[in-house]
């Protein structure tokens, strides 16, 4: 038994989420049963989808239960094992939640995956070579399916999904244009991530103004878009969408906290014969091996060098998570736990 710190959801947000929705508790880890392992988490991943789980209302997933450890992806090492397939020292990625340790039945398919850190830093298995990377891959490759020479865009371009999307789109011969908040992020998207251009949405008050900036950045219009945000950004992109354009909808972060955000002019779906498709990457496990292989190669070869925002210690997780929802992070948001 090991002393464990755990963050649970204490109560559901009324409107905007706050740190008081969470509670940090201490407990001993349960004794291992046959087949189980004890994982010490090195990093916890913070992701926008968690905000959806905090609500009781209809979402695409089961709500986070009150009083239980917050859901979350983790990477760490096996520190105790009653499972012949895992030995102490193995590095693993899993869904350990907001806590320092987790006890996992390692016989459950997909519960833990061993990873190799020879060429890929451990934390990247929560980002570019993990769920966010595969998310970018699925939206780009399976929904947008761009041809070389097409223009594709992505909101939240400096984040974990956006940076992987940019590298994957460049590898397919696309013009790739980011949308991000602030000059620093936009400079990073162009200068470090290698996007062809980046538009700062914070410089624009409305969709019409943002759409003018997109017109400059996308002189041939937009053939594919990956939506992480919704609202004004989506409206502006639709004003520039070409005939037969495709939009992969992965996030509607701007809508979680308040009234639903409308789509201003769905008539463009008809006028431009668009396809708009929502997806959740965990429902497409069949693509993960192919996607992870390409993403790991990009990291190993230096074609993809994603940035990370790292908060220190479990107690810092709620504040870092709320910052993420407001776009305060810069790159993949992690919490370092060791």
């Amino acid at each position: 038994m090991t002393s464990n710190h755990i963050i649970v959801l204490d109560n559901r947000p009324q409107g905007e989420a706050t740190t008081s929705n969470f509670k940090l508790i201490t407990a001993e880890t349960p004794e291992l049963q046959d087949g189980q392992v004890l994982v010490r988490h090195h990093f916890l991943s913070l992701d926008p989808y968690m905000r959806g789980r905090m609500n009781e209302s209809k979402s695409y997933a089961v709500p986070q239960p009150l009083g239980q450890v917050m859901i979350g992806g983790t990477v760490g090492e096996i520190v105790q094992s009653l499972n012949p397939k895992f030995k102490v020292g193995d590095q693993v990625v899993g869904m350990g939640g907001w806590q320092n340790y987790s006890v996992v039945d390692a016989n459950i398919v997909g519960a833990l995956r061993k990873v190799d850190t020879t060429n890929v830093p451990l934390s990247h298995y929560l980002g570019a070579v993990g769920m966010p990377g595969v998310t970018a891959w699925y939206g780009l490759v399976k929904i947008i399916a761009p041809k070389a020479g097409e223009t594709v865009t992505v909101s939240a371009a400096s984040g974990a999904v956006g940076s992987a999307y940019g590298a994957l789109a460049k590898a397919r011969g696309c013009r790739v244009v980011g949308i991000a908040g602030g000059k620093d992020k936009c400079d990073y998207v162009v200068n470090e991530l290698g996007f062809d251009a980046c538009v700062d949405y914070k410089e624009h008050q409305d969709a019409a103004s943002l759409s003018k900036a997109l017109k400059q950045a996308c002189p041939n219009g937009i053939d594919g878009h990956f939506e992480n945000v919704g609202g004004m950004v989506l409206d502006a992109v639709m004003l520039r969408a070409n005939a037969f354009s495709r939009i992969a909808v992965c996030g509607m972060i701007a809508g979680y906290n308040g009234a639903p955000l409308p789509m201003s002019n769905p008539a463009f779906i008809l006028m431009n014969r668009m396809k708009i498709e929502g997806f959740i990457v965990s429902e497409h496990m069949e693509v993960w091996p192919e996607a992870l292989h390409e993403l790991a190669e990009m990291i190993a070869s230096g074609k993809l060098r994603p940035r990370e925002s790292v908060a220190q210690g479990l107690a810092a997780a709620p504040e870092a998570f709320l910052g993420l929802l407001k776009g305060k992070n810069f790159g993949k948001q992690l919490v370092k736990l060791v």
Copy 2:
């Protein structure tokens, strides 16, 4: 040379379209050149897409030029021919426009198609066995692609597209639920077209109320929807859409006359992993033979018995067209010209 009556677009609508946007003129038909035929129109088709063409603003098609004959589908007979492939008396479908006669270069591929009225009345080639029928077929078969047992819905259910959609969906083992305006239309949709249920949108003030009625009519939710209208109807359908549901967007009739109609809650696209796709049937000519074959069989066998609203004489076309935009027609809107 034959004396011809022609309706031209005289000026563009400011807001709502009115009869004063149109002008009826008289002219002699031009003398036939080699390869041309003179077609006497029996029926003119009136369709919502024409409203879009009346605007100068961006649409999916070239605007209707001012001072020229209004675009429109027609069926008629060859009354004079300088083309060896067509003889006097042949019955043909084409895009003759709002006029009594048209001179057509019959060598242009697709300009005229000979039709057989042994088992299918001539007028139906403008409806169930024409563009509206193929439109229903494409949206249902190629975008919604329903499995037997799924629930599919359609707005403007009593119209030419809706009635074909219902028969095609029943033939595929679906539960099919219509949405239409008024008790008469809803009774017709269920009793004569054979839908499983029909919801009267005019009984509802908002999407929430309409969505409750849809819940009753669709106890297992909605797997596929064919959208002819947009606005409140689309919002209500999205509130009942199942995971992995598909919406084929064919019309946004409610938005043509005024401010763009928003989609209230696009977050459902993500939450329910929906696919929403706009299409124009004339861009998918490859499916027409297969679709027309199935539709003609359904008419011949009596499985599809669409209703027609027939206005008498070319001069009645503008009024009938404006009525169509307001849902005053009952079934496929035609103008009888002979």
